[in-house]
Amino acid sequence: MIQLAVVAAAAAVIGGVAAVTPRDSRLVALGLLVAMVATPLASSREPTGLAVAFRILGAVLAIYLLWTATRDRSIESEGSGIGATAELIAAAAAFSVGWFVTPVTPLTGPVAAQAAGFALIALAVAPLAGRNVLRVGAGIVLLLLGISLLLEAWVGEGSSLRQVVLTVLLVGTVGATSLLLSPAEATAAERVDAAAGPGASDDRDGDVQMPGAPEPEEGATDEAAETREAVAAPRRVSTARTSKPRAPRANRVAASGGPVKRAGPVDDATPPLPAPSPQPAPAPNRARRPNPRVQREPRVSRKARESTEPKDSGQ
């Protein structure tokens, strides 16, 4: 007969894979919820009802915090760099290692908890090195879940206060993740789309004009220079995006050229000049389609607009 702990351990690992693999924040939240709910069930052969109820309540509260922080902002995770299958295989390998090794004898908790702990820790390693707050947060939660599973497998089920404190720690970590997912994070996702357009805002490098930003000083009124500036803007954005390590999703979006194509207005407005980047064929585009909730009008900087309009010299 399959024990509850084994099923719960498998569910925790699957939840962990679901938390670190997709780019959709809703799937990340769902994966974390599964992992957090299954963990207390896997950590003990005969879990205490009160402790399990408290942990589940904490998991629901934590995921609610994450859900409310991400639902209206279209915040995305970086997603796995190696794909779901590879993540699953890695987790399965770590699970197997955890199932067969016996660093502690006798094992106080179920061996499934030890195996799931190994698997969750293995899953958490890569996200912790990422640059996306949501992904890093998911990695931290998986790491804490994994260590707590090892703790209870090796030392035994902790006191009720320890369960309470662990729950508070997990809620605090997920809450910190949802807090640090500010709206600026959403604009970063939008920027990937919008930056391909001339005059798009990318104030990280400081050399691209923000839409609506004050015009530069005098001296930049030369028409040819402005035209060159307007055309050079997307190139600079492109350079800026490739000069520093970017998220896999951003690289894929840049390589596919999808969003770049949407930046057409200015490209069309400057037909004699070469296009800033080659337009690839529209064939299989792995880039995720932009969320319609955050889709906006293509933004064109004032400078680029002026370069396409007839200049009023005023003389």
Binding site: V104, L128, L143, S160, R162, V165, L169, G172, L180
Partner: protein
């Protein structure tokens, strides 16, 4: 009971401070009230304080009560200063959440609960990070804070696995102790901003809300330090080559932090960065206490942590006060600050004294003892070096303050008392514009101008950034040419009948005019309390002998193996490490007994799952 009140006040206050967005007056009142209640409740925590939650007992001690009171009092002082210099919405709730976690960590008798509670307390730091910055920019500290939380939490839980002592199958459990030691060291180093994790700490002035350096770099690391120091002697006092290597790593990090932090505080010009590096440099002593691995280091490290919390909170408050008074935090623009705000200069001197002490003082002895126990003889010069670097840092600030004041400093408000009840002054002393903006005359014009400028020509006033230098007066009917045609705009405010001005409004105006003086007095008060704590006042020396209940429980837990802990013996075998264990028990800074002696005032050892000492070789 007092412990439960403390936890309830912290919990309720944190929630009440977080719910209203944006934080208004209610949130401020709730935060200040909760901090006050927590401070009073912490003062009442003592050896007889007990609370049972399930099968775990939370037991107070003299030191845990004093530490929590010191932290809560520091938070209260900082929040009161923040009322004047700019209220950060999340400082009070984050502080309260942190204090709740630290209260559980410092009173729990289960080491797993204590370390997990310490980790949970560290997550509150996310509340105070600025969240409206562009991702990837220099002012974006969210990712760094997230990683810090992850490292601290993971390291502390990993340490909990080790100190709870599972029955390892292998012949030696040294590797897991090495991991636990490194976990505690990593948690301390990352959270306190030690080298090489110092960059996010230095940028906290831009990436976090104002005044929150105290929370992120002082209160949380100090609480974790109290936990770590307890384990240092009992759990990690074993002989193992791998552990010696880990100790050497911690020693290297501590030495680098001590030296580079001190040097960095000399070369930066932003006050926030200077304060951050000064705090980071002094946090190295906590790492040294962890690396000492002897009971003799427990008492000085506990005393040092009390002084560290009070003095560095005072330094953060001082930075906030100076930045507010002169509207700049760059040292180049602060030439002559000492001439305008001598009380803040006095506070800075008091902070320096509380941090360094002088020969014979408890805090001086604590610093020297920690270096003597944690570092080999060839590195003992670092004690003098750290003092020189700290003195140079504080001296540099004072020298800049004694220079000729810049224009910004000259025109800013001073600490000179101003009154709203003075009789009208000659009209020429006040500069009145058409928009009825009354500017204070610079200090060179003496008080007559300032006082005249401070006169309340109309009941409604709005305090500006520098409340005591510029008072924007709403146009009053009596001041309009229509109602007082004979009065010029300059004389209109002064000719308003005094009886028309309410006494209460004058009092309020006087309060606002003296904002700089009030803040300076607060900072001086906090610095004075820090000096008192650093010199053993308020029972600090006595409380430092005993530590937290977890220490008592850890010492009371019988060892599993007959070999005793390799406490310092006269003929200790040299170990291949940078810092050999001390050959003799180092003299304590006071004549009090060692921490390993059963304290008379501490509670009886309680049933606990604290680790037993494990001797493997």
């Amino acid at each position: 009971m007092s412990l439960l009140i403390l936890l309830a006040a912290c919990g309720v206050g944190a929630v009440a401070g977080l719910v209203p967005r944006p934080a208004g007056r209610a949130a401020r009142i709730a935060g200040l009230a909760a901090l006050s209640v927590a401070f009073v409740a912490a003062l009442l925590v003592g050896p007889t304080t007990r609370a049972s939650i399930g099968d775990v007992t939370l037991a107070g001690s003299q030191y845990s009560g004093l530490f929590l009171a010191c932290a809560a009092g520091s938070g209260l002082l900082l929040c009161i200063v923040a009322l004047a210099v700019g209220w950060p919405d999340d400082l009070a709730p984050a502080s309260l959440a942190t204090f709740a976690g630290l209260a559980v960590a410092l009173t729990a008798t289960d080491s797993g609960v204590a370390l997990a509670a310490g980790a949970a307390a560290a997550t509150a730091g996310a509340l105070v990070m600025v969240r409206t910055t562009t991702p990837g920019s220099e002012t974006d500290g969210r990712l760094a804070e997230m990683r810090t939380i992850g490292l601290v939490s993971g390291a502390l839980l990993l340490a909990a696995v080790a100190v709870l002592r599972p029955n390892w199958r292998g012949p030696s459990d040294s590797p897991i102790f090495v991991l636990a030691f490194l976990g505690l060291g990593l948690a301390l180093a990352v959270r306190s901003g030690a080298v090489p994790f110092h960059v996010p700490a230095a940028r906290l002035g831009r990436t976090a809300e104002p005044l929150t350096q105290a929370l992120l770099l002082v209160w949380i690391p100090a609480g974790l330090g109290v936990l770590a120091v307890g384990w240092s002697a009992t759990t990690f006092g074993i002989r193992s080559d791998w552990l010696n290597v880990a100790v050497s790593v911690v020693q290297v990090v501590a030495v680098a932090t001590l030296v580079l932090g001190g040097l960095a505080s000399l070369v930066h010009d932003e006050l926030e960065e200077i304060a951050a590096y000064s705090i980071v440099a002094d946090a190295a002593f906590v790492l040294l206490a962890l690396a000492a691995r002897t009971d003799a280091a427990a008492e000085p490290s506990r005393l040092w942590l009390l002084a560290f919390v009070a003095a560095k909170t005072g330094l953060v408050a001082w930075v906030g006060a100076v930045s507010h008074a002169f509207a700049t935090s760059n040292l180049e623009g602060l030439h002559g600050w000492l001439r305008r705000t001598p009380l803040l200069g006095l506070a800075l001197v008091a902070i320096a004294v509380a941090t360094l002490g002088w020969p014979g003082s408890p805090v001086y002895g604590a610093r020297s003892t920690l270096i003597r126990l944690a570092l080999p003889g060839s590195l003992q010069f670092l004690f003098a070096g750290s003092i020189v670097l700290s003195l140079a840092c504080y001296g540099r600030l004072l020298v800049f303050g004694a220079l000729t004041p810049t224009e910004d400093v000259s025109t800013a408000g001073s600490e000179r008392p101003r009154w709203a009840f003075d009789p009208p002054r000659p009209k020429k002393s006040a500069v009145v514009t058409d928009s009825t903006e009354v500017k204070a005359v610079p200090a060179k014009k003496k008080s007559s101008g300032s006082r005249a400028a401070a006169l309340p020509p109309a009941p409604t006033t709005t305090a500006g950034a520098n409340d005591n230098s510029i008072v924007r007066v709403a146009p009053a009917p009596a001041a309009t040419p229509t109602s007082a045609p004979s009065a010029t705009p300059t004389s209109a405010p002064a000719t308003k009948p005094k009886s028309a001005v309410d006494f209460r409004r004058k009092l309020a105006l006087t309060w606002r005019l003296n904002r700089t003086l009030e803040v300076s007095l607060l900072v001086v008060g906090g610095a004075t309390l820090a000096v008192a704590l650093a010199f053993g006042g308020f029972g600090a020396s006595n409380a430092s002998r005993f530590g937290i209940p977890l220490d008592t429980a850890a010492h009371a837990t019988p060892t599993r193996t007959p070999r005793p802990t390799p406490s310092p013996t006269p003929k200790a075998t040299p170990v291949p490490t940078l810092a050999p264990l001390p050959s003799t028990p180092a003299p304590s800074t006071s004549t009090s007994p060692s921490v390993s002696a059963p304290p008379s005032g501490s509670p009886k050892p309680v049933k606990t799952s604290a680790p037993a000492r494990n001797i493997t070789d």
